[in-house]
């Protein structure tokens, strides 16, 4: 063994060859940013060409993406099962509506109250309050795991729905209440004020919200991706694989579980605000257990632990029922509401169920795992691809999903020496 190891002497020595930045560079590396820029440009000019339906769907998807990324940090990355996501969505949505809404109610009830603060304040406070709610729950979350945490968090959903139904002055009760338009420094994300035309296309609420959705979803995506690639992300992933190992390596397990719950519920809060803006009103049935389960479906379909997977899963689960509804008259078996046959929502759920079963059977990595497999196939001849080492005879098969790769019972080989 010719290499030597020296004790760390304060500042480490800089070696020009040291490069821990990433795997081998290939043409894909240069192609990727170009593709990303192209995709972004397409997204930015899309409102000039497509109908309002697609823009509204896009904003709903963006909101779901934010929420799914947040839940994925908790469930996929850290391994903490939570069914309370709908509750934190509700905290964000109701806070926004209450803080920025008008007193006296919009239409139905005179007893509604609102603080009439600027919508950006409502959004920020909504996110913070969802975070506070998560933080209040996190002492419980830090002490439970797996199905036990799932059951404990379930209670929050029922509490949330009950409060939504009964705290009428704030939530609007079982009828719900309408949501104030978003605006930023005098620019309204509504149909007018100011009137806006781009290249002769009127930019109304749907167009404006579309851009808001892109910005927020992108920010949520980048924050989570950076987080996972750095110190806290590594700690969270190790915590998922082995709490004992994480704590022995210096990770304060309970503090980290609390923090990830905080971050996850803040994501949910923002997602709740976006959901409220996208629907235009909030009602108790929008924040029931079904919503929590749909969010779990998103991250399982997309791929647990993958930020991009969560985004893909969110797009799939959110857009599918809307698209079915839109094209109910052309799709076989699917009918418009009120007619015989399968309604769009039900049809979409059959499809989710099927998709989840297929994903769990054939690609536990979800849509992200599917994409990864595709990518690795493309660059197999290159160096540095995982699993290329011919010496990995004792290890498990390459390409196995996360969590299945560590052998717990090593083969007992002869341990004689000399």
């Amino acid at each position: 063994m010719s290499d030597t190891l020296s004790a760390p002497a304060g500042a480490t020595r800089r070696t020009p060859s040291a490069d821990a930045s990433g795997p081998a560079r290939s043409p894909m590396r240069f192609l990727k940013p170009l593709l990303l820029v192209a995709a972004l440009v397409v997204l930015l000019v899309l409102p000039l060409y497509v109908e309002e339906f697609w823009l509204r769907t896009g904003f709903a998807v963006a909101g779901a993406i934010v929420g799914a990324i947040g839940l994925n940090l908790l469930v996929g990355t850290t391994g903490q099962l939570s069914l309370a996501h709908a509750f934190f969505l509700a905290v964000g949505a109701v806070s926004y509506t209450y803080i920025s809404g008008e007193s006296g109610g919009l239409g139905t009830r005179a007893s509604l109250r609102g603080l009439e603060l600027p919508p950006i304040v409502g959004m920020v406070v909504g996110v913070l309050l969802a975070g506070v709610a998560g933080l209040l729950f996190s002492p419980i979350a830090a002490r439970l795991r797996g199905i036990y945490l799932g059951v404990a968090s379930l209670g929050l959903v029922f509490i949330g729905v009950h409060v939504l139904n009964t705290w009428t002055p704030v939530t609007g009760g079982f009828n719900g209440r309408s949501v104030p338009e978003f605006s930023l420094f005098g620019f309204t994300f509504g149909n007018s004020d100011p009137q806006l035309f781009v290249l002769g296309v009127p930019y109304r609420e749907a167009e404006r919200l579309w851009y808001l959705g892109i910005v927020l979803a992108l920010a949520a995506y980048l924050f989570a991706r950076n987080l996972l690639r750095s110190r806290p992300g590594r700690a969270l992933q190790t915590l998922r694989d082995s709490e004992v190992a994480a704590s022995v390596m210096g990770v304060n397990v309970q503090a980290y579980k609390a923090r990830v719950f905080l971050v996850s519920s803040m994501y949910a809060g923002l997602s709740g605000v976006m959901y409220a803006l996208s629907i235009g009103s909030i009602a108790p049935e929008s924040f029931g257990l079904t919503v929590s389960i749909l969010y779990l479906a998103m991250i399982v379909l997309g791929g647990l632990g993958s930020v991009a997977g969560a985004a893909l899963g969110a797009a799939f689960v959110t857009a599918l029922p809307l698209v079915f509804q839109q094209f109910a008259d052309v799709l076989p078996l699917v009918s418009a509401p009120g007619e015989g046959g399968i309604s769009a929502g039900i049809a979409a759920r059959y499809l989710f169920g099927l998709a989840i079963v297929l994903v769990i059977l054939f690609e536990p990595g979800g849509l992200a795992g599917f994409a990864n497999r595709f990518r690795h196939r493309g660059r197999r001849p290159g160096r540095g691809s995982p699993g290329a080492s011919p010496r990995s005879s004792g290890g498990p098969s390459p390409g196995a999903g996360p969590g299945t790769t560590v052998p717990s019972d090593p083969p007992a080989q002869g341990s004689s020496t000399r």
Binding site: S230, R231, D241, S242, G250, V251, P411, T417
Partner: protein, 294 residues
């Protein structure tokens, strides 16, 4: 291969770091209900030495390691490492005072790369939090870069330099064991706890690991506590050996002393009523392991 010779050789080429205090295990007991997994166990690890803890299955070796790393709380007694009372600290605090542990059953994150697993060892040496990492503030990225260089050094020292960006899950078993040790080294420990570092390895890998452990001690001047079943390795590597049986300490001394201790021979080979004691002593000297893992 005598322990005395090894100790002398160790003393010649080793400079013990001045900040490595002795480890004092003082009357430690651990009870699970009525079962005493450890019963009043005491021993001292001198700074800069390799100290082996051996014993038959169920002797309490793993329990002892779990007490040393804070995973289990001692029901009586305490463990001191200089000023730090390890027995009163939580695991992450113990890592913070420079006590690192490599697990017997590999406890790495299989989906993460070798570099990412090693970077976890730097957790207590780095500060980047959720906000600065998520926003990629300059101090977070700078921190990652600086520590990435040390990671590379440690990986190259354990012949893992070319595997830094390989997911741990696809590495061979021997490689994964060495990643375990490398990750523990990334803590920059003053005390290294190695839990069966060569279990399940073949002869060649075992030799390689033994060399690595000697080099670690020689280069870093740190203390090493070793739990191991491979007698040949223990006797050639350790400066001092503590023997446990049924949770009690039955012997403590140099490898040569321990090998000829009648109590130790009885623990490993049975009461020996029908055996010629000389045969038993000879058997204890052979490098073949006297017991196997289940």
């Amino acid at each position: 291969m005598s322990g005395a010779h090894r100790a002398a050789a160790g003393a010649r080429d080793t400079t013990t770091r001045s900040d490595v205090p002795p480890v004092e295990v003082d009357g430690v007991s651990v009870a699970f209900g009525a079962i005493k997994a450890l019963n009043d166990v005491s021993f001292t690890v001198a700074p800069g030495t390799i100290h082996a803890v051996i014993g038959p299955n169920g002797a309490g070796k793993s329990t002892l390691f779990n007490v040393l790393s804070g995973v289990y709380r001692a029901t009586a007694g305490e463990v001191r490492f200089g000023d730090a009372r390890l027995s009163a600290m939580r695991p992450f605090q113990i890592a913070g005072v420079g006590v690192a542990r490599a697990f017997q059953n590999i406890a790495l994150s299989g989906a993460q790369t070798v570099a990412e697993n090693l970077m976890l060892g730097r957790h207590h040496l780095t500060k980047a939090g959720f906000l600065s990492s998520g926003l990629r503030l300059p101090r977070a990225t700078r921190e990652g870069r600086v520590h990435g260089e040390r990671i590379r050094e440690i990986a190259e020292f354990l012949d893992l330099g070319d595997k830094l960006h390989t997911p741990v899950g696809v590495l061979s078993y021997g490689d994964q064991k060495r990643v375990e040790v490398a990750r523990a080294l990334c803590i920059e420990p003053r005390l290294l706890l190695l839990d069966e570092p060569v279990a399940g390895m073949n002869a060649q890998e075992t030799d390689r690991m033994a060399d690595s452990i000697r080099e670690i001690r020689a280069a870093l001047g740190i203390s090493v506590i070793l739990v191991e079943h491979d007698m040949g390795m223990v006797m050639s590597l350790a400066d001092r050996v503590t023997v446990l049986d049924f949770g009690r300490r039955i012997a403590d001394g140099t490898p040569a002393q321990v090998q000829s201790d009648p109590e130790v021979i009885r623990a490993y080979l049975g009461s020996g009523t029908e055996d010629n004691p000389a045969d038993a002593v000879a058997a204890a000297h052979t490098p073949e392991p006297t017991e196997r893992q289940p």
